[in-house]
Every structure is written in structure tokens, then in C-alpha cells.
Amino acid sequence: MCGIVGLFLKDKSLEPELGKMLTSMLITMTDRGPDSAGIAIYGDESKGSSKMTVQSDAPDLEFAGLESALSDALGGTVSMKVISTHAVLSIPAGSFEKARQTLSEVRPNVRIMSRGDTLEIYKEVGLPKDVAARFDVSSMSGTHGIGHTRMATESAVTTMGAHPFNTGDDQCLVHNGSLSNHNSLRRKLRREGIHIETENDTEVGAAYLTWKMREGATLGEALESALDDLDGFFTFLVGTKDGFGVVRDPIACKPAVMAETDQYVAFGSEYRALVDLPGIETARVWEPEPATVYFWSHNTLPTNTEKAA
């Protein structure tokens, strides 16, 4: 069992409240996942630079002097904002691969949580309320965000086993369920050259999407083929730079509730995660259909495509 929450804002005036609303939703889902929690937040974009969120178990030691080491290697300005065990690095646009290479040389124990223009991922082991407080998630603003509370079934309770998982630039995945063919799929994806760090099933799901998109699929197409290739139970919520998408496996035994008003689209594993949202009493509330890919984007109209089970 795990808990998922997501919030996509249509009303710009709510953007400063995003972190606060998501924190409240996340804490409500503690019963579904008390061992770890994580949040992906889509915030500000600054021209000419992109973001890389990193994590360390010894932040005082590992983050000291990190921006100058990266700055020297990348030949551009690098700035760093440390928040607890995480740091958000602002690096010159297009320099991620070099930054990753440099990081593995100068700070081999520092892990990359996310990369992208607007995406930042924060996740740690602990009760959702403690994880949210550690990163002061309630003070964060943004256009949309997703969160996850974890009750591990398939792999160890560690920071790297927590969700969300970064799947590509500004893309992330959270999962409620369990994949049963993750071992064979992991071997296949590693042969294809996809980097997979842990024995976690969801990381394989994320890596699968990364691989599909590397092969030229859109995120929507990658999710549709996931319905064929992933065996097991899943409700996925995927974040993109412009919005988020939802897909459930054809059996659909993992719960999912959505709510939409003029101000937002919200996702919760249970309705009680949504009860404090403004105007929820009159919102359109429904369950996403099985084997159907839904998307909400700031750029285009909402879409949903059904794929026969």
C-alpha cells in the first residue's frame, strides 16, 4: 500500500499555496505509507540555466564547495541552495551530462534526485509530516506538484527507494502497487544501457518510460506501452514540465480519486486526501478508468486515451 497525491493548478493565484496544499494532502495519506515520503514540485524557471537536485547523507561535508567544483568543470556559473539533506544546483542549460560525470568524480556519494528546468524532487525516509517539515515543503510555490507516501513491499526502505523517481528532464513518476516482472525488465533495460540504481520495482517502471522515450515515444505513448509490458498492479502519476498524467493497470485494484474545479485538478489515493481543497464540495469528483491514460497540461486541453485491456 502507498499513498499518492497530486495537484495541478489552473488558477495562478493559488501558486504560492501549492506547497501548503500538497503538504496537507500528503500528511493525510500517512496511514497508507508511513515509512518514507517524497514530493516533486514544479517551480520557477530561469532562462539559460537548469536545475539539478542532489542528496547526501552527510550534507555538511559533501555539499561544501560543491558549486565551485562544478563551476570549474562546467565553465559557467553554478549556484546552490541547500535544504536539509538536499541541494538544488542551478547549472548552465544543457550541461547536465557533464555535471553528472563531474559529480560522480568529485562527490561519488552524492545522489541525483532530479534534473530539469523547473522540477525539484525531495524525498527521505520518515513519516510524511517529518519529511515535509524537513524540506519546508509548505513554503514552496509552483504550478503543479506530486507527492508520495511509501509503505514498502518490494524493496528496502531507503532514500533511493522512496518516490518520486526522475525519468528524464522535468519528468517524474510515483507509483502505488507492485510490479511483478521488474527483475527481468531490469536486466533487459540494463542491456539497453539504461542506468538503474536499486532493486526497487518502481525504479524499473521509471527506467522503462525513460527507455521508451529515448527510443522516440512520447510520454503518452510510453505510458500506453507500459500497459502491455509492465506486469503487476499500478496506479501511476507522472509529472511533466507542463502538467501531469494518470494511468491505472487494467485490473485497477489500487485506488484513485480525481477532483476538478475551475481552479485545479487534484489526484488522491483516497477522497480524504482532497477534503481540505477549496471548493471540493462542488468539485467534479470521479475515479479514473482502468487502462486509460489521462493528461492535464498547461499548454493543451486535457486528453484521455483508452487502450483495451
Binding site: 487494467p250 485497477a252 485494484c253 485506488p255 477522497y271 480524504r272 477534503v275 469528483v285 475515479e287 482502468p290
Partner: protein, 227 residues
């Protein structure tokens, strides 16, 4: 009329107050406010009382109910009315998955749609849904009636025993050993009674009956090699 606030009184407090009602209680009408999607609201009741829940409910509302009438003024979460023995549950909105699972008796009415696995392993309950139902509904249904005024999803009545299904709209697919059946006069009478009890205005003649083809009841020796 007794009105209780779930957030103030807590779930255990509310359920304990409802459980304390005897068969001859004078406190026959209860309203629960601020439900906020909580789990297990009004579970395990056993008294002829009427309980109205304001707002949507979470998992297992009205589970194991006997005698009580429970009205949900919103949508209902997974497993609502699970293993109900008697009484009635009326859901104004939609119902989530496995509504009325294993329920032995009484009636559940859904004014909106019901999700997947509606009436799974039903054992005598009557379920009337004004809208549509999802996939794998009435899987292994043993007894009772499932009435659907809208459409049914994939694999209706898979591996069913003697439960009856009446669907007004389309059925996306029938499950293993479930088949279309003749609608005889006794079925029209039965269905009219169920619709009346549910307070839904529909003509029984517009419905199609489905039920067990009874091919799975006995082992077919031709399948011996399959094991």
C-alpha cells in the same frame, strides 16, 4: 434526530454511539456531519435506525450492516456495505470498487455509477445501480440480484453461481460461464419489486437478464488433461 460531528467525536465515538442503540431505541434518526472521507463509518450496526452521512465516505462504510438504513449524501469509497446482512444503504453519488462484496442480504442503491467488482461474491444482497458498473462485477456471485440501469463493464458475472443480473444498457463482455437468459414473467415481477424498493422509475421490460450457464458446476472429464 441525533446529530453528531465525526471530526469532534471521532470515528470510534460515533460508531460506539450507534452500536449502543437497541432494537427498541427511541433515537431512530441520526445524522453524521463532517464525514470527510473517513473509513469504516457506521460499520457493524444492528438496530432499526436511519443514519444519514453528510459528505463522501472512505473505505467500508456500512460494512456488516444489519437492520439499519444508511444514506450517504455523497460518494462512497471502496468496500461499502461489505458483508451486509440486512437493512439498506443508499448512495447519492458514485460508489467505488467492490461495493457490497460478499453481502448476504438487504439492499444497496447507487444513484450514480458503481466502479469495478460491484457485488463481487454476493451472497443474497440486492444491488440496484442507476448508472453504470465497472469490470468484473458480480464475480463468483452466489445469490441475490444485481440491477444495472446503465451499462456493465468487462467480464460481468464471471464464474457466477445463482445470482441474477438485470442490465438495461450494454454489457461490454460476459465473464466465463455467464450467459444471457430469457426474461420470464416471474423475472419481470421480481425486477419491478426491486426497482420499486430502490425508488427508481424504469420499465422492467427494457432489461436483459443474465446468469450462470452452470457449466462450471461439475468437472468435465474432457478437461482432465489440463491439470
Amino acid at each position: 434526530m441525533q446529530t453528531v460531528d465525526l471530526q469532534e467525536m471521532g470515528l470510534r465515538g460515533v460508531n460506539a454511539a450507534l452500536h449502543a442503540q437497541a432494537d427498541d431505541t427511541n433515537q431512530t434518526a441520526w445524522t453524521i456531519e463532517n464525514a470527510k472521507g473517513a473509513h469504516a463509518i457506521a460499520c457493524g450496526l444492528d438496530a432499526p435506525i436511519e443514519v444519514t452521512v453528510k459528505g463522501s465516505t472512505g473505505y467500508y462504510c456500512g460494512g456488516m450492516n444489519q437492520q439499519a438504513t444508511i444514506k450517504i449524501d455523497g460518494s462512497a469509497g471502496p468496500g461499502t456495505g461489505e458483508n451486509m446482512m440486512s437493512g439498506k444503504i443508499v448512495i447519492e453519488g458514485d460508489a467505488s470498487q467492490y461495493l457490497g462484496a460478499t453481502a448476504h442480504g438487504g439492499m444497496i442503491v447507487v444513484k450514480g455509477n458503481a466502479s469495478s467488482r460491484c457485488g463481487i461474491s454476493m451472497k443474497g444482497v440486492n444491488i440496484v445501480v442507476q448508472g453504470n458498473i465497472g469490470h468484473m462485477s458480480a464475480f463468483m456471485g452466489q445469490s441475490g440480484n444485481l440491477v444495472v440501469c446503465g451499462d456493465a463493464g468487462d467480464a460481468l458475472g464471471d464464474s457466477c453461481y445463482e445470482a441474477r443480473f438485470f442490465v438495461r444498457g450494454s454489457v461490454k463482455s460476459l465473464g466465463a460461464d455467464c450467459e444471457k437468459k430469457e426474461m420470464r414473467s416471474e423475472h419481470l415481477t421480481l425486477l419491478q419489486g426491486l426497482l420499486d424498493e430502490a425508488g427508481i422509475d424504469a420499465d422492467p421490460k427494457d432489461f436483459t437478464r443474465y446468469g450462470s450457464a452452470r457449466n462450471l458446476y461439475n468437472f468435465d472429464v474432457d478437461n482432465a488433461a489440463a491439470y
